[in-house]
């Protein structure tokens, strides 16, 4: 089992390593867009669901934390 943070690879990592980001067009993050376009439509739809579930889990954790006595 691999544990810990894996070094990133791909265009985003290359940008970070160079210390600059790929030029963006009107504020678009082109590397994110490219990542998305490499997926199939169904994979994109499921990635959206994963992001929703992650946001829900975060929200629940924050609410739980707020409810706990200090």
């Amino acid at each position: 089992m691999r544990v810990g943070i894996e070094p990133e690879s791909g265009p985003r990592a290359r940008e970070t390593a160079r210390g600059w980001r790929e030029p963006t067009d009107q504020g678009l993050d082109l590397s994110l867009l490219e990542e998305s376009l490499a997926k199939t439509p169904w994979e994109r739809m499921q990635a959206n669901d994963d992001a929703l579930r992650f946001a829900e889990a975060l929200r629940a954790a924050m609410e739980k934390r707020r409810a706990e006595p200090e």
Binding site: D25, L28, E35, A38, K39, W42, N48, L52, R53, E56
Partner: protein, 170 residues
């Protein structure tokens, strides 16, 4: 727990006649913004509305504007409906009979393409019509979506290495 893919799968399985529109259609085209609901344009016939009702029946569907009101359509009620805004256990489903900037269901269907998903065939608003609809809505997040859709469109049209992976990435 939200699961928009499962909502879509249910609509396909129930043979609802619909076109995927809005943010989830934009996601399917490649837009990176996260969306929280499924928007569809569908034929508002009794048969089709009853199929929607059946597809969502065990997900405790309620009318979003009146959550105390469960979805319990009768054929008589279907006749007067134009829109159906629903909340279910798996998320929000908005059913519209027309799309701003595109037109009624027939026009929307005309400007759609068929996607072969692992769960079945699904019609989705094409890029050009989706851009038009988002421009017509003109909310902040619509403008961001349009910028991404235009870039996707540009890549699909561009010859050579800058070209996208083809229509809808397949």
């Amino acid at each position: 727990m939200q699961n928009l893919s499962e909502l879509t799968r249910r609509l396909i399985e129930a043979q609802v006649e619909f076109v995927l529109i809005g943010g989830f259609a934009a996601v399917a085209h490649g837009v990176t913004l996260v969306t929280r609901d499924v928007d569809i344009c569908c034929r508002f016939s009794v048969v089709n509305l009853m199929r929607i009702q059946k597809a969502l029946a065990d997900l405790h569907p309620v009318h979003r504007s009146r959550p105390e009101l469960g979805l319990a359509l009768t054929p008589e009620q279907c006749a007067g409906l134009k829109n159906l805004y629903l909340r279910t256990d798996l998320g929000v489903v908005d059913c519209l009979d027309a799309v701003l900037g595109v037109g009624d269901f027939e026009s929307v269907r005309e400007h759609s393409l068929e996607l072969e998903l692992p769960v079945g065939k699904c019609r989705i608003l094409d890029l050009e019509a989706l851009i038009r609809s988002k421009e017509a809505m003109d909310r902040d997040h619509d403008r961001v979506t349009v910028r991404q859709l235009r870039e996707i469109e540009r890549r699909q049209r561009a010859p050579g290495p800058d070209a996208g992976p083809g229509p809808l990435g397949n």
